[in-house]
């Protein structure tokens, strides 16, 4: 079993995931943000599965490793869908939803093809290597998509506080993970393990606070966030 600090971070993350779903039900926004809720519900399910394999087989076991990578691939797909649902929120009024869906499907297929091309030389366990590679590649696609969405929101003067906060939190989450990835590649810092767990708590925390503090009717001017005092 991992150390107490790693486990404590994990438990905090689980509590925050539950808190988001409870908050969205309490604020009667569960179905409005169904994909965001589905992501956390799937996260709770995979946490349960991961805990089962971790406690039964241990952190270094193949069973935990495969459970971890397959659930991670599913979670990344769910997060991608959540991001596309935020795109639909922003572009829905412009009747661009059809193109958003078309682009999302093509992008997912393109990423899957690219991942397959990378792992096709694996002689064994192609499915696991594919799940791992697809998950990693979708992260970076998500990172780029989030920044494009933020740029579009500024251009379109999107004012819904919840949508603005959701997208900003997602951008922060993806960027922090990318920074962690870079740090881990530079050197094998043990602190990356804790950082990565902490960042995992960041998204449910930010989304729960947003859901709790801001009503659906709440408005915000994103341009003000970028304004520089003269």
């Amino acid at each position: 079993m991992p150390g107490p600090l790693v486990l404590a971070i994990w438990y905090v993350g689980i509590v925050l995931e539950i808190a988001f779903v409870v908050c969205s039900i309490a604020r009667k926004s569960f179905f409005r943000y169904i994909f965001l809720n589905a992501y956390f519900l799937l996260g709770l399910g995979s946490d349960a599965g991961r805990y089962f394999f971790l406690s039964k087989f241990g952190q270094g076991s193949d069973e935990y490793r495969y459970a971890y990578f397959y659930t991670d691939a599913l979670l990344t797909l769910a997060l991608y869908l959540a991001l596309i649902s935020l795109y639909s929120c922003v572009f829905g009024e412009l009747r661009f939803n059809r193109y958003v869906r078309f682009g999302a499907v093509i992008l997912l297929l393109g990423t899957a093809l690219f991942s397959y091309a990378v792992v096709v030389q694996s002689e064994q366990r192609l499915a696991t290597a594919f799940a791992y590679e697809l998950s990693q590649n979708l992260y970076f696609v998500g990172l780029v998509l989030t920044y494009i969405l933020w740029g579009a929101m500024l251009k379109l003067r999107e004012t819904r506080t919840r949508v603005v906060q959701f997208v900003l939190s997602l951008g922060l989450y993806f960027s922090a993970y990318a920074a962690c990835y870079a740090l881990g590649n530079l050197s094998n810092y043990p602190v990356v393990q804790y950082l990565s767990g902490g960042i995992g708590c960041l998204l449910p925390l930010a989304w729960t606070v947003t859901m709790w503090r801001h009503a659906e009717e709440s408005r915000l001017e994103p341009a003000r966030l970028l304004a520089v005092a003269r």
């Binding site: 995931e17 490793r65 193109y99 030389q121 002689e123 696609v141 780029v144 494009i148 990565s196």
Partner: protein, 53 residues
């Protein structure tokens, strides 16, 4: 039709940007052992082997 082509071009640009960013961040180290994953669950000790038996 042209809108769909524009969407397709945008999708390809996003894909190229994303993979370029990934390569740049991993310092061109293909099959990097470092990984990123969803949620705060403790990561397994090593990623699955790639291209090895």
């Amino acid at each position: 039709m042209s809108r769909k082509l524009a969407a397709l071009a945008l999708v390809l640009a996003i894909l190229v940007c994303s993979m370029g960013l990934k390569t740049a961040i991993s310092h061109g180290n293909a099959g990097s052992p470092v990984m990123i994953a969803n949620g705060p669950a403790p990561a397994p000790i090593a990623p699955p082997p790639q291209g090895k038996k």
